[in-house]
Amino acid sequence: MIPVHALLQVVDRQAPITGYTTYIVFSIIKLIIVFTIYMLSAALLTLAERKISAWIQGRHGPNRVGGRGGWLQPAADGVKNFMKEETEPGNASHPLFSIAPALSFVPAMLVWCVIPFGSPLPTPWGRVDLVVADLPVGFLFILAIASLGVYGIVLAGWASNNKYSFLGGLRSSAQMVSYEVALGMSTIPIILLAGNVTMSEIIRQQSHSMWNVLNLTTAFVVFFVAALAENNRVPFDLPEAESELIAGYHTEYSAMKFSLFFIAEYANMVTAGALMATLFLGGWDIPFTGWDNAAPYTVLKTILTLGCFLTKTGFFVFVFIWIRWTLPRFRYDQLMSLGWRVMLPVALGYIAVLATTLLVLQAIGIHPGPVHSFILLMENICILLLLFVMVDEGRIVSPAYGRAQQARIVRLRARSASRAVTEGAGK
């Protein structure tokens, strides 16, 4: 029962909520809203993926259910998955088999609790922060929860008692554990710069100086690639590589259990997009203006900032989809080598470079501001140019499809020939 008197108290609309009951009520409302929007967006994303892939491939995409746009396709898919028979392999471990889809789905949702999605909303009961829980350790919470996602996949692979699922589970555990390291390391520069791990503080810091995508571009690049790998998206979709492992860890799943994995994948995409928007693109901050960050807070500001946040998230989700329909898939050993030999050293090196730069800037008396950001940006441009030349191997820089590319091909040939000889002979 809600004590009505608490809700009826007239307080300053701009002041934070003080009453405990009001806080609980608003938290529940926010939870419901976030959950609804989140599930809806995950469902619509399945449609978006099909529409965008169709656009890339010169097709129409879904255009039967719900008019030419196919707007009801997700609903039709959902109904289909509810009605389908659920099968389970005879020798599957039933408890693990059942709990695995939930385990992969829940962490993706939990992360959303700490992501602010708009400027505070003034209400008659006080100012409501548009974040379910603005945890002081928000950022660490994200890292901790995101690591849990691997359990669902590993358990699904293991519990299915299927060799393909098993290989998928193994691949994904190795992949996600490796890329989590790079993911975590690429976020340390943000903490260095913001001096705080609360999400709202990170957003405030960005709106006051410059977005982290310019301040910390290198970290952004590493984070983006690692996020792709964490989400098992192409080119890192090895755990479910359809051409090799049928469907990887979810080969044996059907109906709603499969659907949960499916939703979890899209949910993870939205989460990754929102995280990147928050950490690197200033969250709900509207670019080139300062008025949205300052009091007094109004409903209009909330709506505009919310729209801004959704646009940024949507942009990243679009890029994810775009990449999926453009690139081939890595091989397992290449993925590992990229994670440990490229991503991790780059992330670690960047931490060292950034920490030094920040110290030097502090010592010579340049405080956070335009000049400070400009210096960081220049530093990033230099690092990225270097990285680009290394990764490019003369494909784009040297238009004659350079010698470095040829040399790499020769190296790859030699390596794989020697592997085939040594390991083929070792049997």
């Binding site: 081939p328 390596r415 794989s416 085939a420 049997k427």
Partner: protein, 437 residues
Amino acid sequence: MATKTRTIEVELSTSGLDRSGKPQRVPLVTNDGGVSIGIPEPLALEPALDGEHMLINLGPQHPATHGVLRLVLELDGETVVRCIPHIGYLHCGFEKTGEYRQYNQIIPWTDREDYLNAPGNNVAMALGAERLFGITITERCKVLRVIACELSRIMSHLVWLGTTSIDIGAYTPFLWSFHQRELIYQLLEAWTGARLTTSLTRVGGLMADIPDGWTDNARSFLAGFDKVLDDVEKLLTNNGIWVGRTVGLGVMSPEEAINWGLSGSMLRASGVSYDVRKDFPYLDYETYDFEVPVGVNGDVYDRYLVRVEEMRQSARIVRQALDRLPDGPINVDDARVILPSKTKATSGMESMIHHFKQVMEGPRPPVGEAYVAVESPRGEKGYYMVSDGTAKPVRWRIRPPSFLNLSAIPKMVEGHLLSDVIAINASIDVVLGEIDR
């Protein structure tokens, strides 16, 4: 009617392997009591696993085995230690059925054995039968057959390109190439009325001439096709991931490639410039101006490059053929093999009898044998037929390039990773209908 029993004494044996892997004759009869024949134990189908190895069964129902190929892989982690291919899941008895069909009736079977190259097979079958009959086909027929062969090569390579890119994880080139294939299908549909099973040729000619405006449509297809091929190449050829996934895999040196009996793009990617169209020209291929692309390293990447270039060369040949397409009849003027026209057959007595006998009894070639090899998209495709003077061949034999190419797969994949098996298998471009025939 009384049946007369007689006893035939033959030694029934088949070729097989002894336990050390050397070829030997394996007797098939055991029950005649007289001589006891020692039959060696059959080779173990399931290999003994040592240590931590895992046996995984890839196929026959698997998204990346291009049909119903079954590969039993022994894995050490994800490294393939041993690969045993199993075939026969698509056995349809094409060759045996051919012995009960007239030559023209075999042509629809050739549609189905290598179903990605139906027009090319039709042409090969017709060429073989014509060699048996001693027929020289008309100029227009020759040029039209070249067009059909090259379009079907493009079509088959497009399927290969699309499915291989899916196997390596890139989905978009698949739909782009299948769109182009669809355009060729429309051309073939306008010509023959069928899309997959064209049954284009007849002994001594073609089942139909091209319809009006067909050459313009073909030209406009070729114009768009080059652009799409460029787009696909932009996505793949210099893509770091694609290069990383294909270079150095399944390497066959030129000597190995020849020893294993590879042919077609597989052989050429290994650096051996052998193309039936150049080396044993048929259909006046020697008068067309085209290059035979040859690889250097014999790996999956080179096979990709070779096949893409072959598509360009095929388009070039089709252009030349469209330019030189002469007027005239498509069928030879030879009453032995060619049916009288429908109008004549329904109005004149002699023509009607001729038509009836042609259809019911079929044309009879002289006693003899003929072997014709053509360059199919998969390699040297041969048809061998033996005639005893009746309307049906006593033996019809297919030389399937896929079968020989596939036989090298254990050699190519062992030591590589599971993902590489998929890429290598895709690079062979197998069509199981042809292998199991």
